[in-house]
């Protein structure tokens, strides 16, 4: 049976949960707390790809002994490998659109969402922990980019200017989605697909993290998209797997911002 290692159903952890629910797939859930660094326990599954994944703390799917990481490609895997509802419909061009959205939103929006979410929610949580033990745990993390992403949450990197910059980064991809949804029902056109699951996981937290940018007045199409997604049984079933009751407040470090600025 497929196994999924995940935490609270938010951001990248939410994606495979929704896709598996859409497929009505049976899977064994392994819930873990990445803020307590359970993903570094000796018996936690890992391979080269999961260690080096650019989302850093994302979910892991295990199927037939293979450890699948990186959430958008995990969605593609679920869509292509499992029976059930077609989550990747259409011809090569429709799939191109899904991949182009996944790449664009993952790179343009993903880092900003992780920074804003960690600053607002994870930072205060980590402050309640014993700082000596916390620092010692972070110091052991490899590779260095993954370690630095955790350090950024506690070392004052999230200055007002940095967070303002992250919020600015949200505007361009959000506008692109808003403009697209003015003429299209879903991200690839007429049919629901993994591109919508992927986009929902990134966009659904923005009315909270950047209410001045994503709201009913400024982005009515995005807000309508989020509502249509939340109305889906699979999304509700995925969100119901929360153990805190507040999945939208759970963030861990994600992809780093572009080093080109």
């Amino acid at each position: 049976m497929i196994e999924l290692y995940h935490s609270e159903p938010n951001s990248f952890y939410l994606k495979p949960l929704v896709a598996l629910k859409e497929k009505n797939a049976e899977f064994k859930s392994h819930y873990f707390d990445p803020t307590k660094f359970e993903q570094f326990a000796p018996d936690f599954p890992h391979n080269v790809e999961s260690d080096l994944q650019l989302e850093r703390e994302g979910p892991l799917l295990i199927d037939g002994g293979e450890i699948i990481s990186s959430s958008f490609f995990m969605l593609e895997y679920i869509a292509e490998a499992l029976p059930g509802t077609d989550l990747y419909p259409g011809d090569g061009y429709t799939k191109y659109r899904a991949q182009a959205w996944g790449q664009f939103l993952g790179l343009a929006l993903g880092p900003a969402v992780a920074a804003l979410g960690c600053a607002k929610y994870l930072g205060p949580v980590l402050k309640t922990r014993g700082q000596t033990e916390l620092k010692a745990a972070i110091d052991k993390i490899e590779p260095i980019e993954r370690r630095n992403a955790w350090l950024a949450v506690i070392d004052g990197s999230y200055t007002d200017a940095a967070l303002k910059g992250a919020a600015e980064k949200v505007k361009f991809p959000v506008k692109r989605v808003e403009d697209w949804l003015a003429d299209n029902t879903w991200l690839t056109g007429d049919a629901y697909s993994i591109a919508d699951i992927d986009a929902f996981a990134l966009l659904s937290v923005l009315p909270d993290l950047t209410p001045e940018i994503v709201n009913a007045t400024a982005t009515p199409k995005v807000m309508d998209f989020l509502k249509r997604m939340r109305d889906r049984e699979a999304v509700q079933a995925a969100l119901a797997m929360s153990k805190t009751g507040k999945p939208q407040e759970f963030f861990v470090p994600g992809a780093e911002p572009s080093r080109w600025g």
Binding site: A100, Q103, W260
Partner: protein, 252 residues
């Protein structure tokens, strides 16, 4: 006929060029000179408003993201399959393409822009270049051009890029010890993607990417370079970039 707007057979432009060649797909080639900023001229912006290269036009559809573009080519045209039918190998191919595109590639290109694009761009009239940069549609590309033109890459940024490139050489060498190709047992888009970003490593990182320290990478690069599609694609190069491939002819 399919139209491809591209620069040199290198990095993002080279990906669809090599994929099309492997599939045996004829295309109408539109060469854009990146250094002259052809990609920011109105004629091209009418095709790709983002002003990025490459762009593909097929059956009235416009595709502008190079890695998904390769999957489109494989899905829509006859010819040898360039993706495995095994979902696990497809996942591995995609994971590695993202690693190449988002981790390894930006570091390679930062070094390349600092050494190659910046100095050549600085030979032009600075005021003319400044005005040209202001016309670039995407903020991220404006930033990149400003950094290259005004030599704004810091020593720390360049050192970090070199560290990441050397780290990636080690990661890739180990990967190619476990697998014959990027996705597994067969040649796929993952190899085409990786080759486009890594083919110049023996030239740019001779102390780290050589037959002694990275024999698997060297053998992999030579195997791809020996393919007729690769030779035909790199023969389309017009600058010294393509000549860096010649190092792969020195052995085996």
């Amino acid at each position: 006929m399919l139209k491809l707007y591209h620069w040199e057979p290198n990095a993002n432009s080279g990906k669809p060029m090599l994929a099309l060649a492997e599939k045996g797909v004829e295309y109408e080639s539109h060469y854009l000179d990146l250094l002259k900023m052809d990609q920011h001229q109105p004629e091209y912006l009418a095709i790709n408003p983002d002003g990025t290269i490459p762009a593909m036009v097929h059956d009235g559809r416009v595709l502008t993201e190079s890695t998904p573009m390769m999957e489109y080519v494989d899905a829509m045209f006859d010819g040898p399959p360039l993706r495995s039918s095994n979902p696990k190998e497809r996942w591995r191919m995609r994971w590695w393409m993202r690693y190449f595109d988002a981790y390894f590639g930006p570091s390679v290109s930062m070094i390349g822009w600092n050494m190659f694009v910046g100095p050549q761009a600085r030979e032009r009239d600075p005021e003319e270049m400044k005005a040209a940069i202001e016309k670039i549609p995407l903020e991220s590309r404006r930033i990149a051009w400003r950094k290259a033109l005004f030599n704004e890459f810091t020593d720390e940024e360049l050192a970090e890029s070199r560290r990441r490139v050397i780290f990636s050489i080690d990661v890739l060498e180990k990967h190619l010890t476990r697998h014959k190709f990027i996705a597994g047992d067969s040649y796929t888009l993952g190899d085409i993607n990786g080759f486009n970003l890594a083919y110049a490593l023996p030239f740019s990182q001779p102390d780290h990417c050589n037959d002694e320290k990275a024999p698997k990478i060297m053998a992999w690069l030579r195997w791809i370079y020996a393919r007729p599609a690769t030779k035909a694609t790199w023969a389309k190069g017009r600058t010294e970039l393509a000549s860096r491939l010649q190092l792969l002819e020195t052995k085996n």
